[in-house]
C-alpha cells in the first residue's frame, strides 16, 4: 500500500512476503520511503528518524532472528548514511529505528528502502512514527499505521 496515511508526512510503500527460514515461515518486510508515484506529498519533507513497529502474528517463544538491509544513499542531503537499529524487547512487535546521519530531505526524486527479514510471521500492518517536518519547520513526531501489500510468493533468500 502506498501512503501517506493520516498523520505521516512521508509516503511509504510496505510490502510483505513470506520467507522460508530455518525456523519455518518468516516474513520479509520491505519499506520504501519517499517514493510517491501519485505525488500527493508536500515536498520537501525533512526527516530525522523513523520508527517502524512490525507487529507479529503471535508472540513466539524463540528469539527473533532478523536481518536488516538499507539501500545506500548518495549525499548528505539524503541523510549521508542511514542506519537501522532493531529492538526486540516486546516479543509481540519488534521496533526498527531508522536514523540518518543528518536529517534527510526527501523531495520525491529519491527514496530509501529498508528490508527487514524476520524468521517469524509479521502481521499485515506496520506502525510508523516519523520525526519529520515539511519545509524548514521543526521536527515533530507523526504517527500512522500502514497496511502492507502482501506478496504470495516466497522471497529469495540471499546469504
Amino acid at each position: 500500500m502506498t501512503s501517506p496515511s493520516s498523520g505521516l508526512l512521508l509516503p511509504y510503500e510496505v510490502e510483505l512476503a513470506p520467507l522460508r527460514t530455518a525456523a519455518g515461515e518468516g516474513s520479509r518486510v520491505r519499506v520504501t520511503i519517499g517514493r510517491a508515484p501519485h505525488d500527493r506529498t508536500r515536498w520537501p519533507v525533512r526527516c530525522a528518524r523513523i520508527l517502524l513497529t512490525v507487529p507479529l502474528t503471535h508472540a513466539h517463544p524463540m528469539p527473533l532472528a532478523l536481518r536488516t538491509r538499507v539501500t545506500p544513499v548518495a549525499s548528505p542531503v539524503h541523510g549521508g548514511q542511514w542506519w537501522v537499529h532493531a529492538t526486540t524487547t516486546d516479543p509481540n512487535a519488534p521496533v526498527f529505528t531508522c536514523v540518518p546521519e543528518t536529517p534527510a530531505t526527501f523531495d520525491g526524486t529519491w527514496s530509501l528502502t529498508v528490508t527487514l527479514d524476520l524468521d517469524q510471521t509479521a502481521a499485515d500492518a506496520v506502525e510508523v512514527v516519523e520525526h519529520s517536518t515539511s519545509g524548514d519547520g521543526s521536527l515533530l513526531s507523526h504517527a500512522g499505521r500502514l497496511t502492507a501489500t502482501r506478496h504470495s510468493g516466497p522471497s529469495r533468500s540471499k546469504p
Binding site: 527460514t21 517463544p61 537499529h85
Partner: protein
C-alpha cells in the same frame, strides 16, 4: 634523479562488480555505526550486530564498478605495546594515494587519475565543502564526536593541491576499529577507491563499455616527518637497540633493502598495481566471467570442524582428510609443542591432557614472594635454601591481602558498571513491561560507588607496599630496590613466584578447510619484502618476440603537485599494462604478462616489482560470522544432577534441558557474532615443523615432511566463536562508549558492557555452562564483503549442515526426540564460567609435614614396615596366627620405636595420621591387610619413577618406599560469585547456587605410568577430618570393605567456592614419593601434586631396613674386627692387612709413591676409647720410610682430628694425656714423596670392643648391619649389637648360643665412609 625514495611494494586488490554480480552475488557489507553508538536514544555498539544494518547491494546500482583496495605492508598494520601507557601503538600510515586507471577504448589507451586524501575529515579545521566518504570518530576531539573521513579528488578536474593540515593521525586501526584497514566498507576513500567508471559511459544512462582495466596505486606521507623511516625509532619495541641506521629500520620492518642501496634514502613511496581486469557491464555468463579464476569457494564444500580448541578441531579435520589418527596426533602435538611426548609410554595421555588444557584460558592467580639463593656462576651445587626473613612473611601477607581484595574490587566495579550502564540506556532497551525505580537504582549505585572508592583506596595502599610494575624490566628494578631497602645480602635475591592459575573455558573453535584462502598470516622472516629504488625499476620486459622498454610518454593523468617518483612508476605500470593487453600466441585468455609473471627472471630486466600478477576476482576471507541457537542443559537443578562424570569427562544424562516453547518444546537463545579469521593454524604448524625437523627422530621426520607438504597444498583457517562465554554471562564485548568520565574513574577501563536482556527470551545467564547448540547461519566474509555460506537460515538448509565434530563436542544424547539433522548438534559440557582453580596441595608446613609417614612392604616377612615422617622406625603390621588358630592383623613396634602401639595416646598425639592409618588396618580382618599389600604391590609395579636413581637409600633393599602424604583439595573461585545482569535481577541479584554444586575429583590415573597414586583416604565431606576406615584404590574390583574403588571420584565431590568461604577436602594419599599424582575434574585442567624433594630425601636416607628374625640361635662374642684401607694400593705380597698381623717381619708396601692427601686408615669397627697409637714404618730392611704425615682420628670417617704431625719418620708414637673416642685412625701424607710407603705394624691401644652377635654377616654394600633385640623392661627398650661374622674357627670362650628374637637392621652408609673391603663389594 637521486635515489631519495624507497619503493615499497603493496598488494592491490580489485573487485569488479557488474550488474550480474550486484544482483546475484552474495555480499554481507556493513559500516561502522558510530552514529548509533552516540545516539542517546539508541546506544548501540560501534559496529552493527551480525546480519544487521547491511548494505543493500542488490538494489544499489551505485555499488557497480571496480573497488580498488590496497593492502598496507604488514609492518604498518602491526601494533606495538607501549610500556608507559599499556596500550598498543600503531605507526602512522601513508595518507595520500594516487590511483591511476588505464583502459583501452576505440583502440586507444586512456589514463584517468584520482588522489585519495585518506585523512580528510569532513568536519575539521580544513574541511572542504565535500562530504567524507566513511563515518568515523573525530581523531582530534576530546570526547567521542562523529565525523567522516576520506575523499577522492578527480585529477581530470585539475591538479592536486596539498591542503594545509594538522598533525597526521591516520593509522591502520583508524579510530579504534581493528578491521579499519582490512574491511572495504570501513575505509572507502581511505584505503579503497571505488571507480564507478562513470567517465567511460557514452551517456548518463548507458553502461560503461566492455574493456580491460588496469590500476596503479602509489602512496606517500603528506608530511615527510611522519614517514616510517623517520618515526620507526620512536615506536617502542619496533627497532631493536642494535638496529642502527636505515638497514636496521628496514630489517625491523621486515623489508629487504635493494642491492647497493644508497645512503640518500629519506622517504618511502608505496606502489602496487593490478592488471587486466576484464570489465563486462552486462555479462550473462553463470558464473560471471570475473569469477572464473577466482578462488571463491563453494560454501557447501568448505569443511567445518568444531572443537574446544584449535588443535583439537584441526586434528579432527586432518583425521578426516587423511583417515589417519597418527596425522591428527601429530597436528595436536605440534600445535601444543609436545612432539617429544608423542611416542612416550604415556604419550597419548600426555597429549590428551595438553589438549584438554588448551580448552581453557588462564588468569593470574596471585603471587608468592621468596628469598632464594642468587645463582652462582660456575657452581654445580647451591647452598641450602635460606631461611625466610620476617619481612618476607609480611610481604606475603600484603600480597595475599591484595590477591584477595583485587578480585572483590573488580566484582564490585562490575556491579557498579552494570547498574550505571543499564540505567543510562534509553527505555527501549528495557523489557517492554519493566519499570525502573530510579531512587532504588541510585541508592545502590551510591552504595557501590562508596564501596568501590573505599576498596580502591585500600587496594592502592596495599599495592604501595608490594613491588609492582607493568613492564618486566621495571618490575625487576622495583623488586631489586625493595630487597636493597630491606638489606638483603648480594648472595640472595627476592623472587616473585606466580601462584596457581585460575582458568576459564575458552570459546569453541571452528576450523575451516577448502576456504579458497591464499593469503599467508605473515611473510616469512627469511623472505623480507623486497623494496626498490627509483634508479632500478623495470627497464625492459619481453612481449612477443622482442624486448620493450617503458614508453617515454605513456598516457598520464595530471601529475602536477604529486611526488616526482609517480612518473617513473607509472611508466613501469604502463609497460606492464601493455603486456597484459598483448595476447599470447595461441591462447584466448593468457597474455604476455601471464608469461612474464611466471618467469620474471628471464622475461624482465631490472628489479621485479613484488606482488605483480594478472588480475583475478579477489577472494580474501576476513571474517567468520555466525548465528547459533543454544539450548541449556543445566548441570543440575533443584531435582537432580543431569551430567555424570565418568572419570575423564562429564556425560549428559539426556535430562534437564530447559523447557520452553521453541523447537522440541525447549527454550532456545540466540548467539550471533563475528570474528577475524586467521591462517594462524597453518602458520604455527609450518613454523613448528621447521623448528623441529632438524632434531626430530628419524621415524618422525618422514611424517613431519609429509605433513609439511600437505600443509603447503591446503588452506586452513581457524577462529573461535569469540564471545560465546561472555555471551552466556550476558557480557557484551562490542565496542561502546560512555561520556561520563566519573564512572570510568571508578570502574576503570572495561571491554564489556552488561547485556540486560531487554528481550527476556534472550535471558541466558549461565555461570555454569552446559548445553547444545546448532548453527543456523555460518558465513565466511571477505575483505570486500563477499560471502561463502556454509549454513544459511533458509528452509531446511541448517538441518543438513554436517560439521566435523570432535569427541568433546559430540552430544551424548539427542537434545529432543526426532530432532532434524542430529549430525549438526554440538555439545558444550559443563564448565564453570567463573574463573576457578583446583587447589591440590600438600598441607602447608604450618600444619605439619606434608609427609605423615612412610611404609615399606617387606616381602620376606610379608609385613608392612611403618616409619615416621622423618624416617624414624615406628612398627610393622603383620598377620599372625593367634593361639585360637585364627589369623589376625597385629602391630609390632620396630627397634627403637618411641611408641608401643598406634592405639596409645602418645602415638596418636605424635603421629596422628600414621596412628589412624595403622588403626584402620588393625580394625579390619586380615584380608584387608592382604588386600592392602596387594594394592601397593600392584600399583608400584605400574608406577614409573621419574628419577629413581636419586633414591639409593638402603630401604630399597626391602622394596620401594611408599609415602603417606596429606593433601588439601579444593575448588576455588576468583572473587565473589557472578551476578546475573538481567534487568529483572540487576538491582538485587539472587544468591547464585552454583557455589554449592558439587564436582567430582578423580585422583590418580591408573593407566598412566607416571602417576604415583596407590590409594587415598578421604573425609566424609569438605572441612571434615580424614577418615582411615576405607582406602580408595584404582582397582575397580575392590570389595568396598577396607579397599573401595576410586571409580569416577564420587567420594571426592567438591563445591567451587569463593574466597570468603573456601571448602577443603582433607585427604591422605599413599603415593610413590618420586612420582606426581594427577587430579582430573574435566571442568578444569588436570592438576598434579608432587612431593617436594626436601620432604623426602632426608627421611628416606634415615629409614633403616629391618628384617625380623625369630628365632635366631646365636652366641655373642667380643671381636676386634679392625679393618685397614688405603688409597695407595699395594705391591703383590704386601697387602695392607700386614700392618695388623702383629708380625714386625712382614710389612705393607704401597704400589705408588705417596702424594699429599693419600692415607692408610684403620676402622676399629665401632667407637672405642683410644689410649695410644704406635706405628712402625719402613720395611724390615729400613727402606721406604714414612714421608711427612699427619696422624688423625675420626668418629664417623668424615670429620677428622689431627693427633700428631711429623716430618719423614720411621716410627710414630702417640700417647695422649687422656684417652680419646675414635672409630677411625689414619695416617695422612702431607707432602708428595718420591718413594713408596712401607708400614710394618700399626697398633692401637683401645678399650675392648662391645660384644657382638655371631651370625653370617650380610654384605655391607649399602651400610652397616646390626642386630636389635628387645630388653625385658617396661617400657620396652632395645639393645643393638654389631654383627660378628661367623667363621670355621674354634671359639672356646664363646657363651652357649641362645634363641633370640629381634631384627636385622641396616644403617645407611655414609657417602664418605671408606668403601667396603674388596671381595665384599657388589
Amino acid at each position: 634523479m637521486s635515489d631519495t625514495d624507497l619503493v615499497v611494494p603493496i598488494q592491490v586488490h580489485a573487485l569488479a562488480v557488474n550488474r550480474k554480480i550486484r544482483r546475484y552475488g552474495e555480499f554481507l557489507r556493513w559500516s561502522p555505526q558510530f552514529f548509533l553508538m552516540l545516539d542517546e536514544d539508541v546506544r548501540a555498539g560501534a559496529e552493527p550486530p551480525p546480519y544487521q544494518n547491511l548494505e543493500d547491494t542488490e538494489n544499489s546500482p551505485s555499488f557497480e564498478g571496480v573497488h580498488v583496495q590496497w593492502q598496507l605492508p604488514e609492518a604498518l598494520t602491526t601494533g606495538f605495546f607501549h610500556p608507559d601507557t599499556g596500550d598498543s601503538e600503531f605507526p602512522l600510515v601513508p595518507n595520500r594515494w594516487l590511483v591511476v586507471r588505464y583502459c583501452e577504448l576505440d583502440g586507444q589507451r586512456r589514463a584517468a587519475g584520482w588522489v585519495v586524501q585518506s585523512d580528510y575529515l569532513q568536519n575539521g579545521d580544513h574541511g572542504l565543502d565535500v562530504p567524507g566518504s566513511t563515518t568515523c570518530l573525530d581523531p582530534y576531539a576530546s570526547t567521542p564526536t562523529l565525523n567522516r573521513i576520506g575523499r577522492a579528488w578527480d585529477l581530470s578536474r585539475g591538479r592536486w593541491t596539498e591542503p594545509r593540515s594538522g598533525p597526521l593521525f591516520l593509522t591502520a586501526v583508524g579510530t579504534g576499529l581493528p578491521a579499519f584497514a582490512a574491511f572495504a566498507p570501513y575505509h572507502k576513500d581511505v584505503f579503497l577507491f571505488h571507480d564507478t567508471l562513470e567517465d567511460l559511459k557514452p551517456h548518463q544512462y548507458a553502461d560503461p563499455p566492455d574493456t580491460v582495466l588496469s590500476y596503479a596505486v602509489i602512496g606517500w606521507y603528506s608530511d615527510d616527518e611522519a614517514d616510517i623511516l623517520r618515526t620507526a625509532h620512536r615506536i617502542p619495541g619496533l627497532v631493536p637497540g642494535d638496529g642502527e641506521g636505515l638497514d636496521g629500520v628496514l630489517s625491523a620492518l621486515g623489508w629487504a633493502a635493494p642491492d647497493d642501496m644508497p645512503n640518500t634514502i629519506t622517504h618511502t613511496r608505496y606502489c602496487g598495481c593490478v592488471y587486466g581486469i576484464g570489465w563486462e557491464a552486462d555479462c550473462q555468463h553463470d558464473p560471471p566471467c570475473s569469477h572464473l579464476d577466482s578462488h571463491h569457494p563453494d560454501g557447501e564444500k568448505i569443511q567445518v570442524a568444531v572443537g574446544h580448541s584449535t588443535a583439537e578441531a584441526a586434528a579432527a579435520l586432518v583425521a578426516q582428510q587423511t583417515r589417519s589418527t597418527r596425522s591428527a596426533d601429530l597436528v595436536r602435538a605440534l600445535f601444543a609443542d609436545a612432539l617429544d611426548q608423542l611416542d612416550t609410554a604415556d604419550g597419548d595421555l600426555d597429549l590428551d591432557e595438553i589438549t584438554h588444557r588448551s580448552w581453557f584460558s588462564g588468569r593470574e592467580g596471585g603471587h608468592v614472594w621468596r628469598v632464594v639463593n642468587r645463582p652462582l656462576e660456575g657452581m654445580d651445587s647451591q647452598p641450602p635454601p635460606p631461611a625466610q626473613p620476617e619481612w618476607v612473611h609480611e610481604l606475603n601477607g600484603d600480597q595475599r591481602a591484595y590477591d584477595r581484595l583485587a578480585p572483590r574490587l573488580a566484582h564490585d566495579q562490575w556491579r557498579l558498571w552494570t547498574l550505571w550502564w543499564l540505567r543510562q540506556l534509553p527505555p527501549s532497551h528495557r523489557p517492554h513491561d519493566f519499570t525502573l525505580d530510579p531512587a532504588a537504582w541510585q541508592a545502590e549505585i551510591d552504595r557501590l560507588s562508596a564501596a568501590v572508592r573505599d576498596q580502591t583506596t585500600e587496594v592502592a595502599e596495599i599495592l604501595a607496599r608490594i613491588p609492582h610494575a607493568m613492564d618486566p624490566e621495571a618490575l625487576q628494578a622495583e623488586i631489586d630496590e625493595y630487597a636493597h631497602r630491606k638489606g638483603l645480602p648480594e648472595t640472595l635475591e627476592l623472587k616473585r613466584v606466580p601462584a596457581d592459575t585460575y582458568h576459564r573455558p575458552a570459546d569453541p573453535v571452528v576450523v575451516l578447510g577448502n576456504t579458497g584462502n591464499t593469503d599467508a598470516l605473515t611473510r616469512d622472516e627469511e623472505d623480507p619484502l623486497p623494496c626498490r629504488v627509483p634508479s632500478a625499476l623495470l627497464s625492459e620486459v619481453r612481449i612477443g618476440d622482442s624486448w620493450h622498454p617503458p614508453e617515454s610518454a605513456p598516457p598520464l593523468p595530471n601529475l602536477e603537485g604529486l611526488p616526482a617518483l609517480c612518473t617513473p612508476l607509472l611508466k613501469e605500470f604502463a609497460l606492464l599494462d601493455r603486456a597484459v593487453r598483448a595476447p599470447l600466441d595461441g591462447s584466448d585468455d593468457r597474455t604476455a604478462l601471464h608469461a612474464i609473471v611466471e618467469d620474471p627472471t628471464n622475461l624482465s630486466r631490472g628489479a621485479w616489482p613484488e606482488h605483480t600478477r594478472c588480475w583475478t576476482q579477489p577472494w580474501l576471507p576476513l571474517y567468520l560470522q555466525w548465528r547459533v541457537l543454544h539450548c541449556a542443559t543445566p548441570y543440575q537443578d533443584a531435582q537432580s544432577q543431569h551430567w555424570t562424570f565418568d572419570g575423564d569427562r562429564y556425560r549428559w544424562n539426556g535430562t534437564g534441558a530447559e523447557p520452553g516453547g521453541g523447537d522440541g518444546n525447549l527454550r532456545w537463545t540466540q548467539f550471533e557474532g563475528r570474528s577475524f579469521l586467521t591462517p594462524a593454524l597453518k602458520y604455527v604448524l609450518r613454523e613448528q615443523i621447521r623448528r623441529r625437523l632438524p632434531t626430530a627422530p628419524s621415524d618422525l621426520v618422514t611424517a613431519l615432511r609429509a605433513l609439511r607438504d600437505d600443509l603447503s597444498e591446503v588452506d586452513i583457517l581457524s577462529q573461535c566463536l569469540d564471545g560465546f562465554g561472555d555471551w552466556l554471562l550476558q557480557h557484551d564485548g562490542t565496542a561502546q562508549t560512555t561520556t561520563d568520565p566519573g564512572v570510568l574513574d571508578l570502574v576503570g577501563q572495561t571491554n564489556h558492557v552488561p547485556d540486560g536482556a531487554g528481550d527476556r527470551r534472550q535471558r541466558r545467564f549461565q555461570p555454569v555452562r552446559a548445553g547444545q547448540f546448532v548453527f543456523v547461519e555460518l558465513h565466511l566474509v571477505d575483505r570486500f564483503g563477499q560471502v561463502a555460506r556454509m549454513v544459511t537460515a533458509h528452509q531446511a538448509q541448517p538441518a543438513q549442515f554436517a560439521p566435523i565434530r570432535t569427541d568433546s563436542v559430540t552430544p551424548d544424547h539427542l537434545l529432543y526426540p526426532n530432532a532434524p539433522g542430529p549430525q549438526r548438534f554440538l555439545q558444550l559440557p559443563p564448565r564453570l564460567m567463573h574463573e576457578a582453580r583446583l587447589r591440590f596441595d600438600a598441607v602447608p608446613e604450618e600444619r605439619g609435614t606434608p609427609v605423615a609417614g612412610w611404609l615399606l612392604v617387606n616381602h620376606l616377612d610379608q609385613t608392612l614396615l611403618v616409619y615416621a615422617a622423618d624416617g624414624d622406625p615406628l612398627g610393622e603390621l603383620r598377620v599372625v596366627h593367634t593361639a585360637e588358630g585364627t589369623r589376625a592383623t597385629a602391630w609390632n613396634a620396630l627397634p627403637h620405636a618411641p611408641h608401643r602401639h598406634p592405639d596409645d595416646s602418645d602415638f596418636q598425639a605424635a603421629h596422628p595420621h600414621v596412628a589412624a592409618f595403622a588403626s584402620g588396618v588393625l580394625g579390619h580382618p586380615p584380608s584387608a591387610f592382604d588386600a592392602l599389600m596387594t594394592a601397593i604391590d600392584t600399583a608400584l609395579d605400574r608406577i614409573d619413577e621419574t628419577s629413581p636413581t636419586e633414591d639409593t637409600t638402603p630401604a630399597r633393599l626391602i622394596g620401594r618406599p611408599v609415602a603417606l602424604v596429606r593433601a588439601d583439595l579444593g575448588l576455588d573461585l576468583l572473587g565473589p560469585p557472578l551476578a546475573d545482569p538481567s534487568w529483572d535481577t540487576a538491582l538485587t541479584p539472587p544468591e547464585p547456587d552454583y557455589p554449592e554444586h558439587r564436582w567430582n575429583v578423580r585422583l590418580g590415573q591408573p593407566d598412566r605410568l607416571a602417576d604415583g597414586l596407590i590409594g587415598y583416604f578421604a573425609a566424609d565431606d569438605v572441612d571434615e577430618p580424614t577418615r582411615y576406615e576405607t582406602l580408595y584404590v584404582a582397582d575397580a574390583s575392590a570389595d568396598g570393605g577396607y579397599l573401595a574403588p576410586i571409580g569416577a571420584g564420587d567420594t571426592l565431590r567438591l563445591p567451587a567456592r569463593p574466597p570468603d568461604r573456601l571448602a577443603t577436602h582433607h585427604v591422605t594419599l599413599l603415593v610413590c614419593p618420586h612420582t606426581a599424582v594427577h587430579a582430573t575434574t574435566d571442568v578444569l585442567p588436570v592438576h598434579h601434586l608432587a612431593v617436594a624433594a626436601e620432604h623426602t630425601h632426608g627421611a628416606l636416607a634415615r629409614i633403616r631396613a629391618s628384617f625380623r628374625l625369630d628365632p635366631l640361635l646365636a652366641p655373642t662374642r667380643r671381636d676386634e674386627n679392625v679393618t685397614v684401607t688405603t688409597t695407595l694400593g699395594h705391591t703383590e705380597g704386601h697387602p695392607p692387612e700386614r700392618v695388623l698381623d702383629g708380625d714386625l717381619s712382614t710389612h705393607y708396601l704401597s704400589a705408588e709413591h705417596a702424594t699429599s692427601g693419600d692415607c692408610v686408615a684403620l676402622d676399629l669397627g665401632a667407637e672405642r676409647r683410644v689410649a695410644g697409637v704406635h706405628l712402625a714404618g719402613g720395611d724390615p730392611r729400613g727402606d721406604h720410610a714414612l714421608g711427612a704425615s699427619c696422624l688423625e682420628s675420626s668418629l664417623d670417617g668424615t670429620d677428622w682430628t689431627a693427633l700428631t704431625e711429623q716430618g719423614p719418620a720411621v716410627e710414630i708414637n702417640h700417647h695422649p694425656a687422656e684417652p680419646f673416642a675414635a672409630r677411625h685412625i689414619r695416617l695422612r701424607f702431607t707432602h708428595d714423596s718420591d718413594d713408596r710407603v712401607a708400614i710394618r705394624q700399626i697398633t692401637v691401644l683401645a678399650d675392648p670392643p662391645e660384644a657382638g652377635i655371631v651370625m653370617p654377616r650380610p654384605a655391607p654394600w649399602h651400610g652397616v648391619w646390626t642386630w636389635a633385640e628387645p630388653l625385658a623392661t617396661d617400657p620396652p627398650r632395645w639393645t643393638e649389637l654389631p654383627i660378628l661374622a661367623a667363621d670355621d674357627l674354634h671359639h672356646p670362650d664363646d657363651p652357649i648360643p641362645v634363641a633370640r628374637s629381634g631384627y636385622l637392621q641396616l644403617h645407611p652408609a655414609s657417602r664418605n665412609q671408606p668403601p667396603a673391603p674388596e671381595g665384599e663389594r657388589p
